[in-house]
Symmetry: none
Subunit: 214 residues, 4 copies
DNA sequence: TGCTAAGCGAGACGGTACGTCCCGTCTTAAT
DNA sequence: ATTAAGACGGGACGTACCGTCTCGCTTAGCA
């Protein structure tokens, strides 16, 4: 994102400006959304100048993505030995990652990426991939354990999970609640599990021991 | 959308302006997306003035929604007697409705509705509800026929369908293909059908007779 | 001013509108000056429509002049037998006429008349002539009495009086005070009287009897 | 007028814009008067933008005053040794200064200053003071020479001169002619000179030598 | 130590669009 | 024919940002 060339000669960039700008931009995204994010006002509240920001990020979309990248921090995949529990826990990864940002902001950034393939890839790398990777590993493990049918396409399942979370956030203007996440998992697992009832039973025993709240 | 008060008195609005503006705005949405939609340029290309547009739609979001409402035309629900075929056909309703618009445009409009409850409701009324109503009827019929399990929550199923279509359009920058739609239906029906295999078998016999292409 | 054609046929004009408009326009001239006088706001505060005003006065300059004509009411010339007293009293005619209006308003109206000979004549007829006529008679009488030199051009004197009043009002943003008016009369009469000292002496005797406050 | 703050930092203003704008504004004042002076059209004909003009002059009144200041150039006071000749020559200063501008424009500017004390002071500084200073010196010299009576208030005389010039320009929609100026001087000097006839006689001898045309 | 290349703040530049206000004209239905 | 109501095309307002530029000053690393 940060467009730094052959550093070495010349005065080095003031790193304080980087953080000041990202902080100010983040605040502004939180307060008034992406459409209200302007170089002008960010420069003003970060006590710097537009030029200093342009030197680092060429468009406000790049800047906003930098803010997202700066904030998101996806924890590693859980492994409780219980497929349903793992899934529920994995969903938390998605949800908590998204909950650090206003739902509409992510969406707006994405829209802004619409006409720039490179930017869209950046978005996927930063926003989509990390939580997806976590759940992918989790489902593959489940399939190896025999909890998922052999012919289930994990990619499709992930698409659905991802989609529902995004859509709910955006259309409902609120993130998916834990109950809704559970309902979603049930629907999908009924179709994808080799023996759904067994999974539920197993999940109960684990629940008692670990009491994993979604 | 169109903010008409105590009609009757005063010079009536020129309906030619309505269509000229909607046409121009539509063109601009198609060509350069929502973010490039400006009252200024719409007025210019529709050969009218900003004021005449403001009189009808107070913000460009309202205008864009009016364009969407003007374009979308959802056909009635099919009833072939075959649940899978009906579903596939119903998906077409969703898909064709969305395919008349750039995927990112819908999303951008939605983002713009984020901070306005009334506008968001309008969006739902125009964009979400019509195709949703079609598929709702369709799934209820299937449930009455005994093709869907009694305990399946139709609302949840619809949420998923809706979400996947929207998300794919937006994140993938492309609308859901027919194959993907079929894969999605399979996953969901495996979990929701009382006897999925029977549905598939029945679908085959119908397919031969009616050759319903998705 | 009022542009009434061949009245007789059709619905008659509502005279209430005339007064309502003149009142509203007058208020607006008093409060915010000529430049802020708009058909729009006058129509609004007079609870009528622009068209009804246009029917009566074609431009806001005509309207403003109508307000002035409606207000100004010049009293007849005094005749005390004392030239200086008469003059002082005559000045009151000028001053009181102007004091019913904001100084800048008259000036602004005049500017607005600059490019319209007919309108300028109207202005002269309404604003300049009445007080001028009063003082003209007064000076002619003085000249007949032998108080003014035979070779004094009364027109020039009037020009000067008129000018000083106008200019002071406009440049000083305040109307001429009575003391200043007296000083002005002194300067002019010193040059124009056949025997200034005698006039002053005469004025003193009259003053005692009539105590004419300026 | 020109609102330049802590000069030194930042990109310096393009002085070409200053002159282009003043030229364009001057042209517009000459052609269509003050009321037709708009930032929009000035920007257009000066091939620049409204913002660049706003940066220099906050209102069109300031702009118009800047045009006046840019144009007026008052020559120093004459000293011929003949009071009447000096006065006549001094009047030329007033007159030529005002003749570079449409009479109604000055007036309109003044009206626009009506509600702004600071602006009105600016107007006085630019328009009134310079010629006034010239004639003040001239009359003081005459008084020292004994040509003017000791008890004559020079300020009052100046007020009158100033007023008549302004008023005639504005009300008559034309500047004072030379003959009228002479008549005015005569009236005032008759009242103010210690010996008017002597001044006239002296003036004749000078006239022959220098032939000062008014 | 002094050169040079960049960073930096300040702020002007030509632009585009905003949302508002008023203009003077018109169309309609009601009086 | 006038009225209230209100739409019409048009023009200008003053503001906000855009992305670029020109300055003079600061801050390094390299010679």
């Amino acid at each position: 994102m940060d467009v730094r060339k052959g550093a070495g000669a010349g005065r080095p960039r003031d790193p304080g400006i980087d953080t000041a700008v990202l902080t100010a931009a983040g605040r502004q995204l939180d307060d008034r959304g992406f459409q209200a994010l302007s170089f002008e006002s960010v420069a003003r509240t970060a006590h710097t100048t537009r030029a200093a920001i342009y030197r680092r990020w060429p468009t406000r979309t790049h800047l906003a993505l930098a803010v997202v990248a700066w904030r998101l921090d996806v924890p590693p995949a859980p492994d409780t030995g219980c497929t349903l529990c793992d899934l529920a826990e994995g969903m938390k990864v998605f949800l908590s990652a998204f909950r650090t940002l206003r739902p509409d902001v992510l969406n707006a950034i994405h829209v802004a990426c619409a006409n720039d393939e490179e930017l869209r890839a950046e978005y996927r790398r930063i926003v989509d991939e990390p939580p997806r990777a976590v759940v992918t590993g989790l489902l593959q493990r489940a399939q190896r354990r025999g909890d998922l049918r052999e012919d289930v396409d994990i990619g499709s399942l992930l698409d659905i999970l991802n989609a529902v979370i995004h859509h709910r956030a955006v259309v409902g203007a609120t993130h998916l609640s834990n109950d809704e996440a559970e309902a979603l998992i049930e629907i999908l697992m009924r179709g994808a599990a080799s023996d759904y009832e067994r999974l539920v039973a197993h999940s109960r025993t684990i629940d008692i021991q670990h009491s994993l709240p979604l």
